[in-house]
């Protein structure tokens, strides 16, 4: 007996596969519909609602939201007390991003270029492990670490280096009774919490730079610094930008860390939280929330102009 040129269908799976073969776009459509619905309706919809709210204003006497388009609410952002919040938050986010990038680079570089096998597994575990425990637990743990009686204070006392900490805490603008009540503490905890989000995209970007490219650069006479500046950094830049988007926007929007650690000075997230809750000023809360989005758009446009995405 000779076998037939067409094999018999074995069931539903065979028939479905045949349908998808005849209509290649059907599978794509089925796969994309749920996430697009989620993104389109839930995410973009609420974003639009947010944007809409920010153009309303609140009646100062009655406290009722006036549903008329106005830029008055945005104008309020520039009142000194509000503008301080913006400057403080953006400065903190920029510093945190910078510190994360500097700290993350050697780790990501090691993981991408040298780590193999067990070391690679150890790297992923080490970077991801902090993400397994609760955010709040970590923040409160840091509050204790940074407290006057905490391990840092104790270690400083034992090594007679307390003067460094008191020196830092006497810098104008960074004052506090201990690290955990100073903006320095806020900064340290932000850097700790967001560091993995910088390391991972950086490592992925560095992994894509072949070794021969670094060798070619050295072969042509470049020093390590020149190779870093002209080859490694431009090729890793998409990863650095991706990481900085995480650290920058996460810091811009966070309202828990500055509440628990630091001198209780307001950040954008905290302002939004208070305005939409106790104060009931939804338009101003919305306007505050639009600021990080605007900043990120400007940042991305600048990064693009600098050629950060040319190597993509």
């Amino acid at each position: 007996m000779t076998a037939s040129a067409i094999l018999p269908e074995r069931g539903l799976a065979d028939r479905l596969t045949a349908v998808f073969w005849r209509r290649p776009r059907l599978l794509l459509a089925l796969l994309l519909t749920p996430p697009l619905l989620w993104l389109g309706v839930v995410y973009l919809g609420s974003l639009a609602a947010l944007l809409l709210q920010s153009f309303y204003s609140i009646d100062e006497f009655s406290g009722v939201v006036k549903e008329e388009f106005t830029l008055k609410t945005y104008g309020e952002l520039f009142r000194p007390s509000n503008f301080d919040i913006l400057v403080r938050t953006v400065t903190m986010a920029a510093l945190v991003t910078l510190a994360c990038a500097v700290l993350a680079f050697p780790i990501a570089y090691f993981a991408a270029r040298y780590a193999k096998g067990h070391w690679k597994a150890a790297f992923y575990l080490g970077v991801m492990l902090p993400l397994w425990s609760s955010y709040l637990v970590k923040v409160y743990a840091w509050k204790l670490i940074l407290a006057k009686e905490g391990i840092i204070g104790w270690a400083a006392e034992q090594t007679h280096t307390s003067w460094i900490i008191s020196g830092l805490l006497s810098i104008p603008g960074l004052e506090g009774s201990s690290l955990s009540t100073s903006p320095i503490g806020t900064f340290m905890v932000f850097v700790y919490i967001w560091l993995p989000y910088m390391i991972l995209p950086m490592q992925a970007a560095l992994e894509r730079v072949p070794n021969s490219m670094l060798e070619a650069s050295a072969d042509l006479g470049a020093t390590r610094a020149q190779t870093f500046r002209t080859v490694v950094l431009p090729l890793a830049l998409p990863g650095v930008i991706a990481g900085s988007i995480f650290t920058f926007s996460l810091t811009l929007g966070d309202y828990i860390i500055p509440q628990i650690i630091g001198n209780s000075a307001n950040f954008i997230g905290m302002a939004v939280y208070q305005l939409q809750g106790t104060a009931g000023n939804i338009p101003l809360a919305a306007a505050f929330a639009v600021v990080p989005i605007g900043i990120m758009l400007v940042y991305l446009a600048l990064a693009r102009r600098m050629g950060a995405f040319d190597a993509l």
Binding site: P210, L220, T230
Partner: protein, 332 residues
Amino acid sequence: MTTAVEFLNVSRHFGPASAPVRAVDGVDLSIAEGSFFAMLGPSGSGKTTCLRLISGFEKPTGGTIRIFGEDVSNTPPHLRNVNTVFQDYALFPHMNVRDNVAYGLMVKGIGRAQRHAKAEEMLALVHLDSHGDRKPGQLSGGQRQRVALARALVNEPRVLLLDEPLGALDLKLREAMQDELKALQKRLGLTFVFVTHDQHEALSMADSLAVFNEGKIAQIGSPQDIYDRPATRFVADFVGSSNVLPPALTKVLGGPAEWASLRPEATRLAATGPASGPVTALRYLGSGTRVVIDLQGTEVAALVPAGQPVPAEGATTAIAFDKDALHLMGST
């Protein structure tokens, strides 16, 4: 004649000292200035490691390397006046072709106008003028190869190292590039050190070549030396389509009891002879037919020129050859 590159008992071992992997093991060689030198060998034979020892990307674990008489043991790659064409070309994807070629001048601090002029000159040398504004991703494999060549030549190195540069090209392009590389080398009078696993490429391009096996040089000499007078069975096996005859068969065929190599071109078919056997395979080559005969368990190939009668597969035949075609390689 000046010696461009000299290896004195050079070794490169990897792994623990108790059980080292001997990638390069006690290699001595000297490459004359202005020559086209090929390093030939199967993968893992140490030829690429030798090239990387010259460029400085590997440090020898023993021995001395001299470039134009200077000991480079403590010289990092960026201070060595040698440049490399990498196997994967390693062009910088974020720079256009002109900036890629000018890179070596840029890191030396040479001004934009001057380095771009020189880069254009190099691009013209490899017939890629007018491609300066493209990105490497927009070029074909052969064009990328030329850019890599231009980039490696821009610093006017004293030795140019080429790591299997033609490996990724298709046959036709590879042959064209072989001619072009050879012509370029002659014109520039530069020392080329070329790594390849393709024996035809090595034989046709090199002035002299080293055959590598398991970290050691099996033989070093001119292409004629290597092809006609292989020093060991490995060389005969790897380099040629030469027949390798075991001592017993050599003796039967009228020679001493030694390993011998016999080129198919020098082997004729005969009606009778000291050894005969069945034809096991026929391969038509256009210019002739390669006939493989099983002689006492050893496959021996003979090249029958076009126009002469070819036996059928399975037919019994004997072989004949001139006495001096038999090259002896010792009894071990």
